[in-house]
């Protein structure tokens, strides 16, 4: 397994898209620092970039990479290797490289923006998003043998988590405005790792005071140590569950 990971990781690092991704993160990150004075505004902007870019890059890049390496995968199958070993090494190498690039790409701007502990939390959340969306991408890739279908659905997943989910939540809140829905909204946010991570980071910044009563409800959970722990565990679950399902599917799949 180690050898496969090593091979895939070196192959990924040489990939031009990855280098371009790193450059993009640096340019936007440092560009923001030079434009904005306040460390908190920089942090919020970096958070927005993470929300937008991380899921998309992870989903699209991982799924294309999987399809491209499909024949290599078949070749490896001729060897006496368990299927789960293959998929785990795929997942691990993708996670290593993409998360590494993310940390390098935004870690430096965060370091220079004096964001402190909140910056570290942002990086941690972003890394977990990487793990989550790579897992979802592999799930889609295994589910759909057809490239177009796989790509289409992974984009749909992106749109769903970034836009549609929030839209539905907003609609729900509009219609049930008369009821005390703060708690409910809190639980609903568990269903979207992007919302979960975003609120977690926001709650550690001054922006929390903008959120009034609902902010206070969130703050109770998201600013306490156990709450932060719970959110991180939930995010880890979001990474583990799709990936373990994809292993199961991969084991049964007719290659």
């Amino acid at each position: 397994m180690g050898k496969i990971i090593q091979f895939l990781a070196t192959d990924l690092v040489k990939n031009k898209t990855i280098i371009f991704y790193l450059l993009f993160l640096w340019v936007t990150g440092f560009g923001l620092i030079s434009l904005q004075g306040q460390s908190e505004k920089i942090l919020l902007a970096l958070l927005n970039i993470s929300i937008l870019v991380v899921p998309m890059v992870c989903l699209v890049f991982s799924i294309i990479y999987f399809y491209n390496m499909y024949e290599f995968l078949l070749l490896l199958h001729a060897q006496p290797l368990a299927r789960s070993t293959l998929l785990v090494s795929f997942y691990t190498s993708l996670s290593l490289v993409l998360t590494g690039v993310y940390l390098l790409g935004l870690g430096l701007p965060v370091y220079f923006s004096d964001a402190g502990g909140v910056g570290l939390l942002l990086l941690l959340t972003g890394s977990l998003w990487n793990l989550i969306f790579i897992g979802l991408a592999l799930l889609m890739a295994i589910w759909a043998s057809d490239r177009t279908k796989g790509m289409g659905f992974s984009l749909l997943i992106w749109v769903y988590f970034v836009l549609l989910f929030d839209g539905l939540v907003l609609l729900l809140m509009y219609n049930f405005n008369e009821y005390p829905i703060e708690k409910l909204v809190l639980y609903i946010s568990f269903l979207n790792p992007l919302d979960l991570g975003r609120i977690l980071v926001l709650m550690q910044t001054d922006a929390a005071a903008l959120m009034g009563y609902s902010g206070a409800v969130f703050q109770k959970v998201f600013s306490e140590t156990w709450g932060k722990g719970l959110v991180l565990v939930l995010l880890l679950l979001w990474a583990l569950i799709p990936f373990s399902v994809s292993i199961r599917w991969f084991n049964k799949k007719d290659l």
Binding site: L44, N48, V162, S189, D195, R198, A207, A209, L210, G215
Partner: protein, 415 residues
């Protein structure tokens, strides 16, 4: 005869300090040193408190006297009742250090109370751990200048106000430093007064709080890091200029809360890092001009019951939300402000944007109606809705526009 009048007038004012005005030195000792001295003193005498600790409270100043403290003169109320109760006109209290007035739930105990007097001067005193600091009650033409008042308040219900004025006219409150009380300055029914160069910081509730007080002027004050900022209510013809409202940050904090207030001017002020910069409810015919609103959560929350206010030539820089309202119509006038969120262009290079600016933010409107929607703050959905709404306004009030948005901020000097 008429030529003699001014002379006689002069004589009359001079007479008191002519004949028998003495200076009496006091030294700390057993018993009620200050009270006894006041009892023996003649009107217009000067009592000089020498260095040391005077353990005394409930000192009634019932004749016109000057009380001067030398350096190190401390009057300790021993957590008991009020220290000085001034019931005579023309008293002056200077350079004293007063401390330790006990908390009472029945009586608003103050270190210095002025009761129905006029022409009293309270200057350069230090008040430490006094429940209420200086309490002016039905007094006119008094001066409160250069005092440092620092409380030890830990909870709002056990805290008093630093300077509390209840009914008064033509009072000057200047150069005071107020902190760790409930309200820094509290006014009720105080007219034609002048409040300037005060620093009100770290108070539990409001830095400045006034109600039913008309024709007052507030200048060059700093209100920083108070629990809920500054609240001004039910007052007319107020002028607030060159003040600073800073760091009032919290779930229910405002830089400046205006409620039922009319015909005032608010100009040259700096509102920085407040949850809500200016919150206006029932405010009418105010002129808000040449202010700087920077890095606030919501720069301005102006409710639908505000009418005929003119918001002109202000700088709105780096606020999360610029203007928030709860009405679809707009009865106020926005013109010639600089908005850092303005995204229009200036083809003719005259410094004024060619497209009007809509400062109201859709998300701010949504969260005003549906508070739970705050959970979507800074999400991609919100930013995309925002862009769509600015292009094709559906929900934001269509008339609330600045038709003359500036391209670059005004060069106001705020240092």
């Amino acid at each position: 005869m008429s030529a003699w009048k001014p002379f006689i007038l002069c004589l009359m004012t001079l007479v008191p300090c002519w004949g028998n005005a003495k200076t009496i030195d006091l030294y700390p000792g057993e018993g009620r040193v200050i009270s006894d001295a006041i009892l023996l003193a003649a009107p217009y005498d000067t009592l000089v408190l020498k260095e040391g600790v005077y353990r005394e409270n409930s000192i009634a100043v019932d004749k016109p006297l000057v009380l001067l403290g030398e350096e190190g003169a401390i009057v300790d109320g021993q957590m008991g009742d009020e220290i000085f109760v001034i019931v005579s006109d023309d008293v002056s209290l200077e350079n004293l250090t007063l401390k330790n007035v006990g908390v009472s739930y029945l009586k608003d105990r103050a270190a210095i109370r002025l009761n129905r007097v006029s022409n009293v001067t309270i200057r350069n005193n230090h008040l430490l751990n006094t429940f209420f600091g200086i309490y002016l009650q039905k007094s006119n033409e008094c001066l409160v200048d250069g005092n440092t008042i620092r409380g030890a308040a830990e909870e709002e219900s056990r805290a008093g106000n630093a300077i509390h004025i209840w009914q008064g006219n033509r009072i000057r409150v200047t150069h005071n430093t107020l902190s760790h009380h409930r309200d820094g300055i509290y006014f009720e029914f105080v007219d034609e007064s002048y409040i300037a160069f005060n620093q009100s910081r770290d108070n539990m509730r409001y830095g400045l709080h006034f109600m039913f007080s008309n024709d007052d002027t507030y200048e060059n004050n700093v209100f920083q890091n108070n629990g809920s900022g500054v609240a001004v209510m039910f007052s007319n013809r107020i002028s607030m200029e060159n003040n600073e409202f800073l760091d009032n940050w919290g779930g229910a904090s405002y830089g400046l809360l205006l409620k039922e207030i009319s015909d005032g001017t608010i100009s040259g002020n700096r509102f920085q890092s407040n949850t809500v910069g200016i919150y206006a409810e029932g405010a009418n015919r105010l002129v808000l001009s040449q202010n700087l609103l920077q890095n606030n959560g919501k720069a301005m929350d102006i409710k639908g019951n505000c009418m005929d206010n003119r918001i002109i030539e202000n700088n709105f820089i780096g606020n999360t939300f610029e203007v928030l309202t709860n009405s679809k119509s707009n009865l106020n006038h926005f013109e010639g402000n600089y908005w850092s969120q303005y995204s229009g262009y200036d083809l003719d290079r005259d410094g004024v944007g060619d497209l009007p600016h809509r400062p109201v933010n859709l998300f701010a409107l949504i969260t005003d109606k549906v508070p739970a929607a705050h959970m979507l703050l800074h999400s991609f959905l919100v930013s995309s809705l925002e862009v769509a709404e600015r292009m094709f306004p559906q929900f934001i009030p269509e008339q609330l526009i600045d038709s003359q948005p500036q391209i670059s901020p005004y060069p106001y000097d705020f240092d």
